[in-house]
């Protein structure tokens, strides 16, 4: 998978790049509007990660160009601007998602995977992880061939854990992903614990090995290693 990351803040750019490369992506970076626009036109990428406020121009203009030349490319806006206008304009222009800074890298990773699934496989890619098989289109989870009923939130949580396998996920990151803006209500750590516990119970009951590792006080890790 080839990604183009257009972000003017060098430290953030480097960190995101390293993180995504570890996930197996090939990441090209651009620091300015001009560079970003040129690279986006010179080569075909599977997904673009674009900051809106760039030296030399507005990231929205790059999105406009790319959408005309390569409509199949996925686009995620990463912006410090929470302005509703930008969000709506961005999504109207054909961006697939909008992330407001600061964000969790695991969140970016999860959204990136979701965008790529939708773009490249029309959402029909089957995700497998050990004994788990997930079909994103009807949101169906199977364990060793047997379907398991899940609530919407449980499905979100599971998919998030799988998307960020082998990475330590903090409770805050999980809460923000699954419950969005209302995650501040999850201030009792017990809340996430309870939901993870329920998911784990359900998976174990269906004969799935325990992939969820608890790192006490810090968060959870989804891994095949035992």
């Amino acid at each position: 998978m080839k990604l183009l990351l257009i972000e003017d803040e060098p430290v953030l750019q480097q960190t995101i790049r390293t993180y995504l490369e570890r996930e197996g992506y090939r990441v090209t970076t651009a620091d300015t509007f001009l560079q970003g626009s040129r690279r986006a036109n010179d080569y075909e990428y599977d997904c673009l990660l674009v900051d809106i406020t760039l030296p030399g121009g507005n990231g929205l203009d790059i999105i406009r160009e790319v959408k005309q030349l390569q409509p199949q490319t996925g686009i995620i806006i990463i912006s410090a601007k929470d302005a509703l206008d930008d969000r709506i304009t961005g999504l109207d222009l054909g961006a697939d998602d909008y992330l407001t800074k600061p964000f969790h890298l695991s969140e970016l990773n999860s959204r990136l995977k979701s965008v790529l699934r939708r773009r490249l496989f029309a959402g029909s890619q089957i995700i497998t992880f050990g004994a788990l098989t997930i079909d994103p289109q009807p949101q169906q989870v199977q364990i060793q061939g047997q379907p398991v009923e899940m609530t919407g939130k449980q499905y979100d949580l599971l998919l998030y854990l799988i998307s960020n396998k082998n990475r330590l996920l903090s409770k805050a990151a999980i809460a923000e992903h699954v419950w969005g803006d209302s995650m501040e209500l999850a201030d009792s750590h017990d809340f996430i614990y309870q939901h993870v516990k329920n998911l784990r119970k359900k998976l174990l009951a269906a004969g799935c090995p325990d992939y969820i590792k608890t790192r006490y006080g810090a968060g959870y890790l989804f891994t095949l290693d035992t």
């Binding site: 803040e9 430290v11 953030l12 960190t15 995101i16 390293t18 993180y19 406020t53 410090a80 601007k81 929470d82 302005a83 509703l84 407001t100 800074k101 600061p102 964000f103 969790h104 890298l105 695991s106 939130k153 990475r167 330590l168 903090s170 805050a172 990151a173 419950w179 803006d181 209302s182 501040e184 209500l185 999850a186 201030d187 017990d190 809340f191 309870q194 939901h195 790192r215 006490y216 006080g217 810090a218 968060g219």
Partner: protein
């Protein structure tokens, strides 16, 4: 009070003053003129009688008093003094009543005999004359003032037209969307100056508004970017293999502080933006449906806290407001009621035509109720809270003129928030 009414009141006051003062003065002057005139007539009569006495003393003295009822003669030993006039009432047989008279008292010498002569003249006719004239004058003056007032009113109304027109335009003016208004043309210098000053003021306000908007957005950008770096770096650090538990603990604490800082920053930005009258676009928002949607969204938290929960929508109410702000307004109220509830507590949410009422069980406020909607006032037991949620609620409610009330029932330990759904003033009026 209207300026026109006030001016008219002053005019009327002046008119009444002039009237009250001028009528007695006028009356006095006429009376004085009449008396002078009558006195002259009496003196002339006296001279006439003196001449008659000189010519024919005997017959004059004998017949004069009996032929003229206005003349009296009194035989005296000597002349008591010089002539004088006085006012005295006499009975008039014709009118059957006492009437005021002017009387000249003088001496008359006929040879050796000395008489005191009284010549009088009735003032009845003069009195009537005076009253008629004064009445006429009063009437004329009143008529004049009334006419003046009416004309004045009509003229001022048309003269003030550019002013009222300008006022209407300013009232409809939207800082965030409109161009500076074009004024109606006027010949009056004062209004032209007013229009010019208003244009300057509005243009400058728009510039300030735009630059402030720019500033808040830039401030957001500038602050969120370092926060994003911190957050990303801490996340990478926490995912480092074989990180000791205590180090991980420190990283998590730092990450949660960054998270909190970012929330405070966003909340403050939201407050600033509401203050700056951003979020101008409005659409009809169904409060009942919005409440139901948000409650559904928070269902996990309600279940987790094991709250007994009731939601009643008596009547759907639609408010014209910004949908994003409506979300924040109702959302923050509900989040507040869930967050500060006690485990196994109660949450009641009622939507009626006039108000949204949210009740929750919970400990009494650890601070005075008057500070509840202030910024950064929070329960010390919940250090992660931003202390801005209810301040934002207040700000939004104020912006749309929705009354917001808080009550605490100490017996049942119930906090009650009431949000009136009928704006006390149109939101448009709060723009300026």
């Amino acid at each position: 009070m209207k300026l026109l009414a006030l001016t008219y009141r002053y005019y009327a006051g002046l008119a009444l003053g002039v009237l009250a003062l001028s009528v007695p003065v006028f009356y006095g002057i006429i009376q004085w003129l009449v008396i002078v005139d009558v006195d002259e007539a009496l003196l002339a009569r006296k001279q006439e009688i003196q001449q008659l006495v000189v010519k024919r003393p005997a017959s004059t003295l004998q017949y004069l008093p009996s032929t003229d009822p206005n003349i009296r003669l009194l035989r005296v030993a000597s002349c008591p003094g010089s002539d004088y006039f006085h006012d005295k009432d006499y009975y008039l047989p014709l009118l059957h009543e006492l009437e005021p008279h002017r009387e000249l008292v003088t001496c008359l010498k006929a040879g050796e005999e000395v008489y005191q002569l009284f010549i009088r003249q009735s003032l009845v006719e003069e009195e009537d004359f005076m009253l008629t004239i004064t009445g006429l004058q009063t009437g004329l003056l009143l008529l004049l003032l009334l006419g003046l007032g009416l004309i004045n009113r009509r003229i001022t109304r048309s003269l003030w037209q550019p002013f009222t027109d300008a006022l209407r335009r300013i009232r409809n003016f939207r800082l965030e969307s409109d161009q500076a208004p074009s004024w109606s043309t006027t010949e009056i210098d004062e209004f032209r100056e007013l229009h010019q000053s208003l244009t300057t003021l509005l243009t400058r306000n728009q510039q300030v508004y735009t630059s402030q908007k720019q500033f808040t957005e830039n401030a957001s950008h500038e602050m969120q970017t370092p926060l994003a770096i911190m957050s990303a770096e801490l996340e990478v650090l926490s995912q480092t293999d074989d990180l000791p538990d205590d180090a991980l603990d420190h990283v998590q604490k730092a990450a949660s502080a960054v998270n909190r800082l970012s929330h405070i920053n966003r909340a403050l930005l939201l407050l600033t933006k509401i203050e700056n009258m951003q979020y101008a676009e409005v659409c009809p928002v169904d409060i009942g449906a919005l409440t139901a949607r948000l409650l559904d969204w928070y269902a996990d938290f309600i279940v987790h806290k094991q709250l007994t929960f009731r939601h009643l929508t008596a009547q759907d109410t639609t408010l014209s407001m910004n949908p994003q702000l409506a979300d924040v307004l109702v959302g923050n109220l509900l989040k507040n009621a869930i967050r500060h509830n006690q485990p196994g507590g109660m949450l009641t949410c009622t939507v009626s035509r006039t108000m949204l009422c949210i009740e929750n069980t919970g400990d009494p406020l650890p601070f005075p109720a008057s500070q509840l909607f202030d910024r950064f006032v929070k329960n010390p037991a919940l250090p992660d809270a931003t202390g801005l949620g209810l301040a934002i609620v207040k700000q939004i409610a104020d912006r749309y003129g929705l009354p917001l009330r808080y009550q605490f029932n100490a017996d049942q330990s119930i906090h009650r928030f009431e949000l009136g759904l009928q704006p006390s003033h149109s939101a448009a009026d709060s723009i300026i």
